[in-house]
Symmetry: C4
Subunit: 383 residues, 4 copies
């Protein structure tokens, strides 16, 4: 019953599970995929599909934020990335895509050094306004993200530019950051004073998520940032297996509803959701929506042009990720809605979610969070 | 005792096991392989060997259904495949076998697109009659399969043509399919009105299997379709490890016998039984018979000509499988009865089953379902 | 506490462990390797080292049986192998070593067919006498093996030729073999009437081992035959993880001592002991001695000339093993006693056993059976 | 709760975990990395960073001991290695680095034989003085190591030369070594009579560590020597998974404090800490400091010149390790303090430790030993 394991005398660990460890199983009833709804609503904003584009330069540009919005999702622009550091980031993106790996694509220190150099260009606050305005003009919901470290410095620029949803995203974001050098961001006060809903994270457990919920956030990102391109476990020893993390944060959501007499904070799985099966399982674990990196970076429109990297990969002194080559699958619409000619879960993401829900007999995402799950480590094909 | 595991706070999963996770162990008595019977009977039909050929175009043609019947098994013809879409499917089969993979054989979207195109040809109901008649003329037991989605449309053609055993097979088949658009098949009524025994599935758990048994089916297929060529877990997040699935459905059989005062519904393992060891273990888990894809597709007579694919691989919008290259081992007789020169369980399938039963001291399939089992993950050879 | 796991409703399995799953750990005291004894005695025969050469044609010839005997161990000649089928087996051995694999060395059906053909030559009973006489002349302990199937036919020839230790070895040997066609060997009576000590097996569990002990055997082989070259799990679905098997049979030995008021039956681990670490762990699990195949087939003197295969690989209709290429390490003396220049446990087998016992503070094999053990799956090196 | 597992009837094992099996997880509070202290003090010696250079010839020379000391750590010179066997070991090191592997770099018996030959040169006691004097002149803390087997013979030379910290290090060191041939080292008396603090090990469990603590040692090394280059498990069957070993020894430290009314013995993880994540997890398991081999051998200044081997690899009769090719990452300062351009945890080791502590909200190493841990086997990237 308890998940506490004794590692050695007096040192206990909690057994945690990845999405690869679990799978969903059909139960009695089946349903027509056409009768399934995958719509999602946060605050006043309704979306046809519960997919957010991660604020990563390989995934979300103003153009892909607009495209994703028109296709029913929500693109979140990284306001500390290339789009606010360069007037014209296109040549920089081309340069990154053009970097040739000398050894393997993993841990190429020359590529990492080049990324670090390109991201050392200063943020130009006026570009924050320019980029958000471009998205707003298209008519889609506008969302931009800052890290907690820079929220105080740049949030006014964001507010002035106008966003519908404000995202505060870091590898690990806590409601109580301690520093002797700088006065840290008071999340609770910041959110209270802000007029727009805030999504904040990553959090990877019950307690930190509960604390973030108590700041007044509309949504909490579950995860530690990164997925395909992350090396946090190897470099920092930190790892938060997603199946357990999502279930724990969903439990915090349930308890917070009771604590507040009804306030519903959305749980958004963020990181390591590389194919449609992962998305299905994230919802099954209790997520309301998913924030995708790799999966959307495979779109033809993605700025990464077949490559993918996160902000942790460009950290000035402690890079914890790589520029990963992920290839291109088809248009963003093809990736989301198919029809698919790929059999590895890289296209028709929404169709697959719909089909899984139908096969197990559920008609809404909220109900689908209760689907039966088996624990069964991923087997490599042996044929 | 309980197999319930806590994935995260409040989210539980059932620990499930694959056939690779288990093995059988000899107990006290041994027996002469010649004294072992592997015969199987369903309804009025007796078979020397408990092997069914899967209704997949790479496995079962009218010719191989006849050959398998003469060798003591039962070939099930897919009545929605190439044989009912093309007057002469031979060139189509040749074209599929001739498709060259540009990258690896897995997830080649061009091959998938070509398969989708070839299977977009309409079903010609009159060919259902032609194909079944061809099998009937040979004198073997005649069996054909439809998906639940098309059973209403084509079942009359099948009945008119005449079958001995009617198979309704889909990735997941439930006794209660819900749709707002089309009136779904009422399995119970359909089976009640039909004159021939029906085998239906796949089902992958106790409850859905019990509901299928209550429809009056003579047999239930255990599994989710596909095996070697399936990517359902990656695309849909759905997975039903076979050892657990078979044992659960066998438990439903036992309870259903009690519930009905003696009605015995046959449990047929379907999917992922690639070699003789898998067949042995499927029976050990409680199966009465096995439906084989890959294992029979390796026969020289198999229409796939060294390739194997399932209906899920040709789905028009959500393909969940690949055309897998599996090679050819020898004649169908060699595959079933040897003598074997292969040491990987790809030939003499029936001989291996017989030998395993003898080594553990059992003389009938029914008794062999009680053999001792160990849980021990498959180790890769390290020499 | 219990090792019973529920695979599915009502189907239980026993969790079983391989030698790779376990390791020994040093406890408080350490000891000088020179003070350690690895001597072993069975019946009236004392050996400096607890190592038996497996009755496999790639391992034991009359010459290597003599060499192993002179080095303190016991070579067991297979009396149904090439040495009793051919007047001069040397060219046959050379032919086997010279077979070129067309694809990989595993599951090459042409090589298997050739082996089957070479082993189809009839056994010449007079050669049994010739071979055993050759060993006897050298002055070492003489041991030969038959399978249970052929013990009735050839045992008189063996007895006439004279052996010190009689070995009855098959994949699975039970005390109660049932056959409707031939009258099976009555092991108990056979052993009772025989004048020499009998070692019999393989047995892989408590109950079958206890029954073999009750036949009056002096030693029981633990295992299912084969190791590096075996494919029994894939072909027959049978597998008996060695750590659990040895511990279970050792428990039978302990209970049998009590049952008989003191009769000690030796437990000999047989199969899958490829390097010195495996030998150490087999003793730690409770074995009194080890029967080695691969490990000795790596000696320069070994008849296999760098290749290794078992009798199950040459079975006329159900081959369950391969001719495996294992290479050559050095002289038999080097393999047993070093000094070693190999770091993978393929040489100085006895020195390694001695060192492990010293590091954990034990001075005799019998005491070492109580050493502390950890359960920790083998990790592949990640550097 | 208990970690006791039944391997077979009556044979129990303790489940043990490697560092790869665990990871740390952020909890509520986060902290500024600048506010984190990684300082460590043993006896009268304070260090900025809790990193010891292993006494291995590929890692620590007099020059790198000085360099590591100036960078805030402690280099321990192996006083039985090349630096005390050769007046000028540089050509020997160059020869080792120049050995070309004929097959793979693992288990090349020719390389092992060459290493054995080079290490067969006798130890020249006067060189012990020369080497330690060279380190002392630089002003850093001086530490040298002997094996228990040679401590009696050479300790006087070490004492005469003068060391600040005396290290006694072997694969397994026990407080009670038994020998019938030579009078073993009486550790307790030796340490009592010695004027300088002693660090002793490896020990891999609660009991042996407790006994070593009772000898009066200032610190205990946890582990079995070796890591990347070790083959102890394969050769001797001995393995002590590090996460469990460290936690067990930390528990002995806690109990020993109580037993003595306050004596604190430092726990130093030694072996298998190849990247920064491993260092983080070793502290999290309860270590006060870490002794690094591979991780420091990757420095440009390292004497191994891109290769790494331990004393167990050069053992005259039982080599249990290889010369492993590990490559070079950058200067020692870069390896320790970055800034990093590597994303695999091979540089900025101290920065990573600092960042992990900050992310989980801890400000001292001692507090960080209480960080939350999850059990989650290392997943290979599947993208």
């Amino acid at each position: 019953m308890s998940n506490e394991i004794e590692i050695g005398r007096g040192k206990r660990a909690t057994k945690a599970y990845s999405l690869d460890d679990v799978a969903i199983v059909p139960n009695r009833r089946t349903r027509d995929p056409k009768d399934v709804s995958v719509s999602w609503q946060i605050d006043a904003f309704a979306f046809e599909t519960p997919i957010l584009g991660a604020p990563m330069d390989s995934v979300t540009s103003p153009a892909t934020a607009i495209a994703l919005g028109k296709l029913g999702g929500l693109g979140v622009l990284n306001l500390e990335g290339l789009w606010t550091r360069y007037e014209n980031p296109e040549p920089v993106l081309a340069e990154i895509a053009g970097l040739r790996s000398e050894a393997s694509t993993r841990n190429d220190s020359k590529i990492t050094a080049k990324l670090q150099e390109l991201y050392a260009a200063p943020i130009q606050p006026e570009l924050i306004g320019t980029r958000l305005a471009e998205i707003r003009e298209s008519g889609v919901v506008v969302a931009g993200s800052l890290t907690p470290q820079r929220t105080k410095e740049y949030s006014q620029a964001v507010i002035d530019a106008g966003v519908d949803i404000f995202v505060i995203r870091g590898t690990t974001v806590s409601a109580e950051h301690v520093s002797q050098n700088t006065e840290p961001l008071n999340l609770k006060q910041f959110i209270y004073e802000l007029d727009v809903p805030v999504i904040v994270g990553g959090a990877a457990g019950y307690t930190p998520a509960m604390h973030l919920m108590r700041t007044g956030a509309a949504g909490v990102l579950v995860g530690f940032g990164g997925g395909a391109s992350s090396t946090t476990r190897r470099t920092l020893g930190i790892h938060a297996p997603m199946a357990t993390a999502i279930a724990d944060v969903a439990a915090a959501r349930r308890d917070y509803i009771e604590e507040t007499g009804g306030r519903y904070v959305h749980v958004i799985a963020d990181g390591g959701l590389g194919n449609s099966g992962d998305i299905v399982k994230a919802i099954a674990m209790g997520a309301d929506a998913v924030m995708l990196g790799t999966a959307l970076a495979r779109a033809e429109e993605a700025p990464g042009a077949g490559y993918h990297w996160g902000m942790e990969a460009v950290h000035e002194v402690s890079p914890r990720g790589d520029r990963a080559q992920i290839g291109t699958v088809g248009s963003l619409e093809h990736v989301l809605y198919g029809p698919s000619h790929e059999t590895n879960g890289t296209s028709n993401l929404v169709g697959a979610l719909r089909r899984s829900m139908a096969t197990t007999g559920y008609s809404t995402l909220k109900e689908f969070q209760r689907v039966d799950v088996v624990l069964s480590p991923y087997e490599s094909d042996r044929f």
